[in-house]
Every structure is written in structure tokens, then in C-alpha cells.
Symmetry: D2
Subunit: 434 residues, 4 copies
């Protein structure tokens, strides 16, 4: 259904071409400062039309809070947030009335409901995620205020262009800030030209094969957001995306998310393990095809003697709190957070909408071909971080509230660094364990 | 918590060294034939002690149905199934009172609950999965009877030993039977000797490095179950495991699951997408670190024009039912089943219990070393198929019941082959879509 | 929390003096015709300011559907409905910042959340029920269309004025239409005068005690809605309310609800029995203090030999379908509907807001007195029917969807009378169900 | 379904004539002392065969804890408790294969599931409540330990025999102990004789009409448990029951429950109000037909100026905590506990099983008569207190855990009287809470 969470409960609504989209968030901690401005930042980061790399449809996605706050503070009651759709035209996608677009959901919606939204993705559109991003921004604010939790997501690969292994691991360990992801990941269009264009102005793809540059593809001086915080990789990603734009094709990639400075003890055995809840959260986002935590699929090639994270005393922490020398587990043991950062990666499929003509069949069983008109994202990866950060925040806050129900003591973040402690403005305390 | 599912609801209970383990299954379809024999098969497949590859602890895991059936038929009421623990000794793991075992959950249980089971894994032990396997066997029987659904899981890699890519894909397409997985995946011990032993009786690992064979490791004529349905890979897997047994180490691997002949239209947008529910189900199993569906992480390296599954008319099917030429999506679009097989892979971490001495720390913060006594599985992969099959069945049946609530017509399996139709003993019908 | 239901899930939001109120309804059956007009009728019936008996605040409560429909049909996706608040002034109730109003919830909200809405009831205001009424209207439309279900609620007592026992029972048996409730229950103001005023124009209460008539209380020719379908009782109720209005006091009453022509087999043993779900639904409405079904509290004075509803063959029904000679059980046995009408009564407390000065205490523990300004309903009973009808419809539809998940056959309404059959315009044995 | 609760989750299983009955309780607070002895007391109070007033079937109902504890302490993991059925004979009720017993659930189970347990009540039997009583005993222990909460239920009326109004109200205010209910409510058989028998040994009913005393009905010296803590009423109740036993008839009654010394702030607006959750809990018990809280149905006859509980400063309590002069609301405002005692009453229907021959119909639609053999309770009221106390405890603990998730401070019981403080053996303002 359209509701996620047990105590922090997010219900989203809205189709891409209906009147509006949004969410109700229930279980919001009371007495927290909250205005639209707290929400808008992530909605704006999520929004398309930010650069030539992503689609140019204009959406401003201005959020309104309809309930649950008074005088800028939460009441503890449900918060309804709405973003009205500015573009409600229903005719753009009319061909999809006759035959389904490959890779899209109109076929399965028809199988499920016996009907489908006539225009665009309806409920399966990425616009549905606006409600999640709004709810996520709210959750994140609470976690940051209360525990100093930081949640940062970045693009670690696009097609075959990936951050080199060692540097990828180093990034996961130090966890760049969200600002760094946005800034470092922004590639000036000229950088792409340097990669793809030779001195004659002829374009070649990354393998050196000449490509026919279509007019209007590049925009002088434009900023291409990759959200990859590794500059040389970011530039090559931008080039790869430009190639695909020219080829009227698309691709996918991998996004890495780190959640750090979070309480130990989160996750509800046995079915609601922290990694199970995160996997569900991430795999419920459109276009996701894989999820891994810690060493992930890579761990299957390791030996137990390598993979086991050895326990070490945690310097300066109170009795009962241990650290681990490594974090192959990605912050979870037995489905419960250790207090180490949660490190997870999500596979995003190539965008299904491509301008090329594709083979398909009509609903009444005749072969047909389909060209999906309009401007399409060759790669949606750069828009994903607010979605993944949002779902991560929602998931963690729900588990926080569930764990709070179990104890009378405040939850603790076991292994704060000195820097994090200062960030929190309070000592790294922990609950007593007799 | 310990309950999974919305309408088909499975609640498990039990610690590894308590009186017993089991489950309550609620929402069971009434009037279905069911006796302990239907459940026992999968419990027996799950059980350790089946060969020298897995641990030799003896457990018979005999299941008793306490409620919900009469005269061998389900009543529609909750079915409680119990397996009593035969070995309730609590002293084997006493050293874990002082310091946590690396890779195990006693540390996080202590963080979460302020206490932990004193012996073995308690609730985080693999014995907890007995309740799931029992519930899964029940779900599977219903799905097979009603829709002809087949759910088969096999081991596709162990450490670096993996089924070659093309053959792996071919296996996914044809989907071997469970019997084939068990039979073909069973390696006579002599086969391992052929791989690892030279004519002088000296042993070498798979890279040609000599290994010191420990007495008692090999058992003449024993059968080593790998559950890899690709014979040459199975033999090499068995050899790799034998090497690790000798080295007192462990490893992980990847298990592939195929669910075929299932209704189209399953999966509840937006949070309870079929892949989201399956991801949660699988990532809630102990030792799982990654999940992917269809082309999975591999899809991130594809182009949209390659990855999109093109629609084609479904020969012989009724109007409104289409097929796809390929199945890169792994049977789901927009979180709803297409009717094509669901194909998923799960990463299992190296077994945490190894006989080697490992560094750890005492709960009161002193460095320490720990040897976990007893016989340990160097690799748990071969025991996983009943677990994954069980969770898959539970997840799909829950989604089936949820979809049934939406329609007055029986659900249909869109793309039955002639063979499957015979299996079901009825025509491949589908719901009307006006 | 603010969500009700398992498969038909209603989440409400909104404070009385915030921007708006409304709901998300998830699990809506697809392909059903639905426009704002279907919803507005019940919202308008619920609205205050309809007569001098109820408060004169003007609210138009115009509903907008933001999502989940296209071209006037439901898509099966969540339907968000919003009613904007026209009066968002926050100053009317400012004295409640210092001390809580007796009988209101601001004190307990403060205990629970550590804060409270500064104006009026906030979330505990009756405006919250707008979302329920909207969702209920939707549910009701589906039930009426599919099964011919009728849900009618009326006022059976106000303070000591009640429909005589035998006639109350007869009404429950024949179940008046909603139109009858509205029409017959509307008392012309002159009728009240006839009851309370003597030939000299002096007013007396129903016991014959003279009352000081305040100027402006009566409105010549105004219609006083009681929603009591028993004319002599309605007139006396109107008189009693007028007395209380003059006395600046209030009272409560009992509302009776009948749900008829509904499928047998609804209700989920053991915790989600139909009477348990209905009890929760009704007791979740503001101001409700009691619930009973069938003979209710009265059954405790009966003998088993009187109370047991004897089974009789159902003439013309299919084998296996029985009728009962009486319906003391109120349509449920073992928590499952028999197919006979569900008959339930709900006790509503005296309205807490009265114009009289009342004793209270300030939050910091000093004695104080409070006059709650503004016009208040002396009795909210006449506004309750749309609320109770709405909650009944929501509850029953949720149970219908849950039962549908259990069977491949359409649910049936066992015991339609000939009249009901004509009403439904189709044969009795199976609704829709061709 | 068979699961109740959000965080404290109780799932029951078992049919009356299957192998056993019981429950899984999830969300149990860890580190609490718990053994079978803590559970057995209430199970024994619930058990039939305690006196001639109740049925003489022998059931010992010995509970076994299968999981979730170690060394007599809870682990925080699910606790499975089982009571094996000693009498599994299936032939006693064989006539019910042909026609349903009036007032019983076999007819509706058949409508719902298409099948029914062939013997006795199956899942609708009162034996199902064993799991609830066991879970309730556990919940109650936690509440008593943590907050000093007391939950006491007693029988306040049987048929027309009721505690006089004023004394009933006084009892609700002082809340007798459970021991008092059991002791004072136990009527020596001789007392019944004094009421019903004249000096000649002839028996007359309470209205003076002679009754034919059947042999074997009275047992010299036997104790008749009424659980009515008002001696004169208890004696008359016992007499009324004896009359009905002789007449082979049955009756119902009202049970009153008081929950006192509980935290303020419990209850989750808007659907999960404390009275809504309690209503559902109580109405989910077999044979319940009505629920009311505080003044209940009686409040409908009051004026607002009488019914409103006026706030008064709470002497000695902390700032922000108020008391009310009266408790007509029964401890709840806006669905949230005030900290005053919750006072609720539940209507229980006449026992459906009577030895008299009753009219019924066969499932294939022929008229028939049915005599239900065996010994039957003329009135089940005296067995109800452990059921209602159990459901009350389960409901309150679930709401406690939900409220704890909202705050970092321990919950507090606002308004302990001096007497309650002594009872708890600790200071009033904050329970436990060091």
C-alpha cells in the first residue's frame, strides 16, 4: 500500500498528471521547529530541470504544510504536505493508451487494477517520490537535532564509469557532506567538452569512437550535476551521459548512502532487521533493482577470517561499549545497529524512457513500435540522492521510535568522534547496562 | 518484530537453546489438505548434519501441528507449528558471557535489550528460521496447488567459485526442479579428492598450493551437498569448502531463486512493491548482505535500449495479455508482477563461527581472544535454499491474498506454457479487463 | 494513530484552525465512478449551521479530490480529499492557554505531547471527522453498488426523551431510509412552541416548570433537525434542546445505526470480530462513551432460551444458507456477520462546551473559572448520523476486502427480502455476481 | 485476525478440541522476572470446574513457556506459551455436524471459511481466551511493577440481580482488590439454600414461585464463585444462577473493570483512542455485546453542566498536573488518559449452550430440534474477570509502549492518592524512574 512505517508512518498520494502530490506523516515528534523551508531544500535538490543532464521540464515543487504545526512547531499530530502539479496536461502520452511503453508500469497497472492512468506514469511516476522526500526531510531534521545523525547519498557509478575501488571505500569511510556531493559533483559543461571533443571540435565517445553531435545538446557554461564527489569520475560520468543523450539512449548506476552517528540497538528482530527495513525502503523506490549493505555482494568472495569485524575496546567510551576494527558488516549485526555507520548501495536501472523508437505490442496483441516523445533523462542517478536520503531517514526514525518504546533512557550514539560530539553539543552518553 | 505479512501472517518464536522453536501462521486458506508430512520435507532439507560439508550436530527437527487443522485439512484458523529443541545445553558457548563473538549478534542484542541469551545465538540463531521454513512449506503448497507456482533456489556461487555467466543465465531461464538441485548438487566425496588430491595422495588447493590435510576431515563415500545444479561448479565448490574446513575458515556465496508460473498483478504500490517485499523478506534472513532482482546490479552497466524488455503479443493468450521478449526486469514492472518469472539473487556472508582464534574485546573493555569451540559450517549456502524458498512463498502468498481482495475473479497466471497448464489441470484463464 | 483499516485504509489529518482537514483513502476499489458530488452530500449533512438547534458558525466544507481518480473514475490508487478551513482565526479560545476547558481534550493533549493547539480543539475538534465522513461516503457508495448495502443512522434518544421501546424496535427492524430520517426528523419551530408555550406565550419546560425565554433563541419558521424518525419524539427532543439552549446547558443522547443487506461471513476472528471493529470505529469518534450491538446491555437481563436466535430454513435461498427467527444478536455470531442486519447503538456525551461559567484550574495549579464564549450546540446528536454512517461503511468495506482475499467466489448477501431485491434491481442470491 | 496490538503484540492459536491452545507475545519488555507461576494464577482463576455454578469439565490448564525467557527473566524476544488440551474427544458435539447450535458460531464459521471445526466451538470456544489470559498476566505484571497499576474486574450484575447503584459507584471509586472480589464473591452453598429454600426444604425462586429441585443440583458445602464483591448481591446472584441451572436455562450479566494508577497521556488520537482500543479489546472477547466507559450510556441522560468533570489543582503534584473533582469521563478526555482511573463496563450475553431442546434447522434447510448435551454454565460471568483484566492489561501496555516512543522521560502516574503511594511503596510523582 501507500503507507510506510510502524510508528513514524508516511502515506503518500498523487499521480503525475493529477491535481497534486504529497503525503501525510503521522507519529511526528511534537515540539520540533518545522516550516516549509525545512522541507523545500530537499524537494529542490530532487527536482528535474536543474541542468542539461536531466530533463528540462519545469517544476517548482513548492510545498505547503496543511496541518500538524502551529506557530512553526510540530503538534505531534499528522502533518499533511502538498505540492500542486503545475503541468496537468494529459495528452502528451496518448500513444500509451494503445500500447505500453517498454520498461514502464502501465502494463502491470492494467493487470493489477483493470485500469491505468491515461497520462504518463500516474502513480508509478517519479513525482510520487515528492511525498517521500518531504517526509524524509522532516525525519532527517529530527535525527540530526537529536542524535547528530548525518545521512549522505552520492552517485558512485554511472554505467561503466565508477569511482576507483580504494577511493570509493575511502569516501564511504570519511562520508563527504551533502554540500560536497553537490559542489564537487557539479561539472561545468566545458569539462565534458574537454573529455569528448578533440581540438577540431569533433566529438568522440569515451572509447574513442566518433559520435555525431546533435545540435542543441550541449549548453555552453551549463552545470551538469552528477552528485559524484570524486571529480575525475564526475567528469567522465558527465561525458558518458552526454554521449547517451546524443545517442538517444539511457543508462543506470549505483548510489551509495552512508548513515552515521546513529544510536546502537536499532532494528527489530527478526523480520524488521535494520537491513531488511532499509532494503524494503530502497527497493520501494522506482527503478531500483539491487540493494547491498556493508561489503554486500563482495562479501561472498571473502573468508570469514577476513570478513568478521573484530571487536576492540572503544577508547573513552563507557563500559559495555565496544568498537570494531573494521566495518565490513556495514553497521549491523543480527539486524541491529552497532553504532558504526550504515553503508549501503542501491542499483538503479537505465531510465526506461528513451527517444529511440522501440518495439512493443498493442494491448490487443498486435506488434507495434513506439516513440516516447519529449525530453528524457538519460540517467536519473543525480536526482536520486534526496530520495534515498529521505527513505533512509524515514526508516531510521521509525526504528528509533520503536526502540525508544523499549527503554526509559534516551538512546545513545555509542561511538561518537570528538568532532561529532561537538556537533551534537553534548557528551557522548550511553544507556546503562547493568 | 517477529511477525511478517499483512494477510498471510507468520510469527516466529524460539531461541536456539530454549525449549523449542516454531511459528503461528495466520490467514491460512481454509479447506486445504495439510499434515506434518507437507512441512517436514523442507525442514529436513534445511537441517544441518546432512554431510561433512555442513556441521555435524544432530537435529531431527520433527514438526508438530498444534492447531488450525482437523482431519488433515486446514480450518482457516491460525496454525501453530512447534519443533522442540533436543539439545538445550547452555554451557557450550559460556565464553561469550565475557566477550562477544566477532560477526555474531550478542553484542547488538545486549545494546538493544540490555541482556542477551547466555548460550549460542539465542534468537539470532539459524534455528529461528525453522518457523519460517515451516510456514513457507505451507504457503508453497497452496501456491503450487492453486496456480502451479514453482519456487526453486540453488547455490550459484561459493566464494570465487561460480557457475559461468551464460550457463547461470540459462539455468535461470529453464529453472531446474528442486530435485535436480538436490541430486546434481550432491558431490560424492571422491569427486573432491579428484580435484584436490594428486596421484601421491597429497592435497593441493584450487590454486595449486599444497595444503596440510587434517585427519578426519574427509569421509570416504560421504555425500557433500552443494545444491549447485551445475556439476563441474558443484565439484569445485565442494573442493573449496573442503579447503576452508581444513584451514578452519569459512566463506559465503550467492543463492539464486526463481519463482515461476505466478499471477500477474501482484505487488502493492508504492511501498509494498513485490521487489520491496521480497528484499525485506530475504534481508531479514540471518547472514544476508545483498539482494538483487532481474539483471540486478548488472543492469547499472546496461543501456536503456538493451535493458528495456520489449513487449510482444503472447501467442494463444487472451486479449490484453502480453509477453516480453526478454526478462531483464526479473518479472516486475513498477513493483507489480508481469507474470514472467521472478528471478532474484541473495548474497550470504561468510559464516561468522570459525574455529580459528580471533581477536575480540571483553564487555568491560579489555582486549581478549576467542576460540569458538565445536564443529562449524565452513559455508552455510547449501542449507539456504529451503529458507529462501520459504520466505519467497510467504511473501508471494501474502501478495496473492492482498490482490484477491481487489477482484471478484480468480487471479490468473498470464503466460503458462502448455506443460504448466497441464500441471494446473485447467485452462490458462485470465481476468476480464473491459 | 490517525490511520484506520487494514486493506481499506483511511488516514485523516487537520486541526480545527489550521489550513485544512481531510484524508487519504488507500485500497479504494478501482474503476468505480467517483466525483466530489458523491462525497459532498454527507459532508453537507454533517455540517453545523443547519438550524437553530445546532451552532450557527458557517462552514461550507467544500471537498476537493486531489488524487486517485481520472475522468471521474477511481484508479485504485490513494485518494486524497481536502476541505480547506475558512475560519482560521486563532484568538477565540485564547483563555484556554491558561486553563483547560472542562470535558475537552487540551489538558490530555498537553499531557501526551507536551504541547497543544492554541486555538479550539485542534486535532480533537469535530472538524477532524470531515476526513472520516468523506472516506465513509466513498466506502458506502461501493457497498451500495456492489451488495445493495444500506447504512442508516438516526437519533433514538436525547437526554430522557426517547423513542418508545416497541416503536424503537420496529424502526430497527424496518430501517427507515436516510431521507426519512432527515425529513421526518426536521421539526418546524412552531412545533416546539406548541410543546413549550402556553396560550399566553409563556414558556414551560417539559416537566411544566416555567422557563425564562431568552430573546433571539427561537427563530420563527426555522427548521430544527433532530434526525429522529419518530415525529412525536422528535418534537419533544426539539423542545428539550430548546430548553437547554435557554439554560445555556447541553445534553447527550443515543444514536442507532442499522447496516443491512451485507454479505455473511464478514469479521476476522478472533480479535477483529465485526463487533470489535465496529466498537473501535465508533468509540474513536469524539464524545462517544458507549457501544452496544443487538440486544446490547439489555441482553444481560434475558435468559438464554429467550436470547438465542433460533435458526430457520431460509425460503428460496441456496442450500447452506439459513435465517434466524429473531435478531437479538444484532447480525453477528462469533464475531462474523450472519447476513442479518447489524444493529448498533452509540452513547454520545453531553456537549462539553457550554456558555455557563464553569470551575476549572489554571495549568500552574490555581483555581479559576472559565466561560467558553461563542455559540455552542446544546446537543450534537443530530450531526452524528453522517459520522456513524461513515465509520460503519469504512469498517464494513475493510472487512469485505479482507474476506474477499479468502475466496475466489464473489461474496453474497444471504438473506435479501423481495423488497431489497427490487431495490438492488437484481436477483437475490448473489450480488453483482453474474 | 488473531493478532492484537502494535508494539505489545499478542497472537493466539488453538481450537477447543485440538492439541493445545496458547499464544506468542512479542514486544515483551526485556529483563523482567517471569516464570510460569506468574501466568498460572490467572489461568487458574479463569478455569471452569471451580464450583457447582460453573461447568464441571476438568481442565487443569497448566501453562508452559517455550521461548523468550532464560534463567527466569525475559529476553525481550517473543514468548510462546502453550496449554495442552487434555480432552481432545471430538464426538460430544457430533449433532452439530447436521445443524448449527443457536447462538453459537458454527454457522458463521461455515459461511466465512466454507468449513468448521467438527467438535465444539473450535476457535470460537472460550478456550481461545487462554492465550489472552496468559499474555494479560504478563502485561499486568509489568504494569504493576513499573507504575503500580492495578486492574480489577468484578461481576456487577447477573440478569436482574445487580449491585445497588450507589454502592456500585462506591465500589468503582474505591476499587476492591482482586482478592476481595474472589473472597467476598464466594458464596457458601448454604447461603443459596437460605435464599431459595423454606423451612420445609421446598425451593422457591427469587419471586416466590415454587421450583422443582432436580437431584444433584446442589452440593452441600460447595463454594459458588460469583466474583461479585457485594455480599448480599452475591448471595442473590448465586440463587438466581441455581434457579437457572434447575430450569436448564442461562443468563448474562455485566462486569465492571477498573484500571487505576496508570500514566496520563496514553491513547493515540484519533483512531486509537484509549476507549476505542479498550472497546475493541473487550468486544473481541466471546459473548460480549456492549461496552461503556465512565458514565457510559448513563451520560446520555445528564446535562453538560453535570457531566463535565471540573478541573481542580492537584495538591502536591508538580506544575502542569491537574486533578478533576469527579470522574464521569471514566479516566479519558479526547481519547487520552487523564491519569484518573479508567472505569468500564462490559455486557455479557446469556450463555448460548442450554440443556433445553431448541428449535434449529439443518444445514440443508430442514427444520430440526437440538439438545446440546453435557453440563453447561448457566452464567459465565464469574469466569470473565481474568479475561477482561487480561485484555485490559494488554491494551494498556501496548499504549504505554507507544507513548514511551514519544518521549525520553519516563511516563508518570499523575494523581496517586496517599493510599496508593503506600500501596506502591514509593513516592507518587514518578514511578520507578530513578
Amino acid at each position: 500500500m501507500s503507507t510506510f512505517g510502524t510508528l513514524f508512518k508516511v502515506s503518500t498520494f498523487g499521480e503525475s498528471h493529477g491535481k497534486g502530490v504529497g503525503c501525510i506523516v503521522d507519529g511526528v515528534p511534537p515540539n520540533m521547529e518545522l516550516t516549509e523551508a525545512d522541507i523545500q531544500t530537499q524537494l529542490t535538490r530532487r527536482r528535474p530541470g536543474q541542468s542539461v543532464i536531466t530533463t528540462e521540464r519545469k517544476e517548482f515543487d513548492k510545498v505547503t504544510i496543511l496541518s500538524g504545526t502551529e506557530f512553526g512547531k510540530t503538534l505531534g499530530t499528522p502533518i499533511c504536505m502538498v505540492v500542486m502539479n503545475e503541468d496537468q496536461r494529459k495528452h502528451d502520452y496518448a500513444t500509451t493508451d494503445v500500447c505500453p511503453r517498454p520498461g514502464h508500469a502501465e502494463y502491470t497497472y492494467l493487470q493489477k487494477y483493470g485500469c491505468k492512468a491515461s497520462s504518463g506514469g500516474g502513480r508509478s511516476s517519479a513525482r510520487e517520490t515528492i511525498g517521500r522526500v518531504a517526509a524524509g526531510a522532516l525525519a532527517e531534521k529530527y535525527l540530526a537535532q537529536t542524535y547528530g545523525t548525518q545521512i549522505v547519498c552520492w552517485v558512485s557509478s554511472i554505467m561503466d564509469i565508477e569511482i576507483p575501488k580504494d577511493e570509493a571505500r575511502a569516501l564511504e569511510e570519511r562520508c563527504p557532506s551533502r554540500e560536497e556531493v553537490d559542489t564537487v559533483g557539479a561539472v561545468i559543461h566545458g569539462e565534458v567538452e574537454k573529455v569528448l571533443m578533440d581540438s577540431n571540435g569533433d566529438w568522440y565517445d569515451l572509447t574513442g569512437k566518433p559520435i555525431a553531435k546533435k545540435a542543441g545538446v550541449e549548453v555552453k557554461g551549463a552545470v551538469l550535476h552528477t552528485r559524484c564527489p570524486h571529480p575525475p569520475t564526475a567528469a567522465r560520468m558527465a561525458a558518458r551521459i552526454m554521449e547517451l543523450r546524443i545517442a538517444e539512449d539511457s543508462t543506470g548506476g549505483i548510489a551509495t548512502t552512508v548513515i552515521k552517528t546513529l544510536p546502537a540497538g536499532l532494528g527489530e528482530p527478526v523480520f524488521d532487521k535494520v537491513e531488511a527495513e532499509l532494503a524494503k525502503a530502497m527497493m520501494s523506490l522506482p527503478a531500483t533493482k539491487g540493494f547491498e549493505i556493508g561489503a554486500g555482494f563482495g562479501c561472498t568472495r571473502m573468508k570469514g577470517s577476513e570478513h568478521n569485524d573484530l571487536f576492540v575496546p572503544a577508547h573513552g567510551a563507557k563500559a559495555g561499549v565496544l568498537d570494531t576494527a573494521t566495518n565490513h558488516a556495514g553497521g549491523t549485526l543480527g539486524g541491529i545497529t552497532t553504532g558504526k555507520p550504515l553503508v549501503l548501495r542501491v542499483a538503479i536501472k537505465p531510465a526506461s524512457s528513451i527517444a529511440q523508437s522501440q518495439q512493443t505490442a498493442t494491448y490487443d496483441g498486435k506488434e507495434s513500435a513506439l516513440e516516447v516523445k519529449g525530453r528524457h533523462d538519460p540517467c536519473v542517478l543525480s536526482r536520486c540522492p534526496p530520495l534515498l536520503e529521505g527513505m533512509a531517514a524515514i526508516t531510521i526514525l521509525d526504528l528509533v521510535l520503536r526502540q525508544k518504546s523499549r527503554t526509559d533512557a534516551p538512546l545513545h550514539c555509542a561511538q561518537l568522534t570528538g568532532e561529532e560530539r561537538e556537533l551534537n553539543g553534548r557528551p557522548a552518553k550511553r544507556a546503562k547496562h547493568a
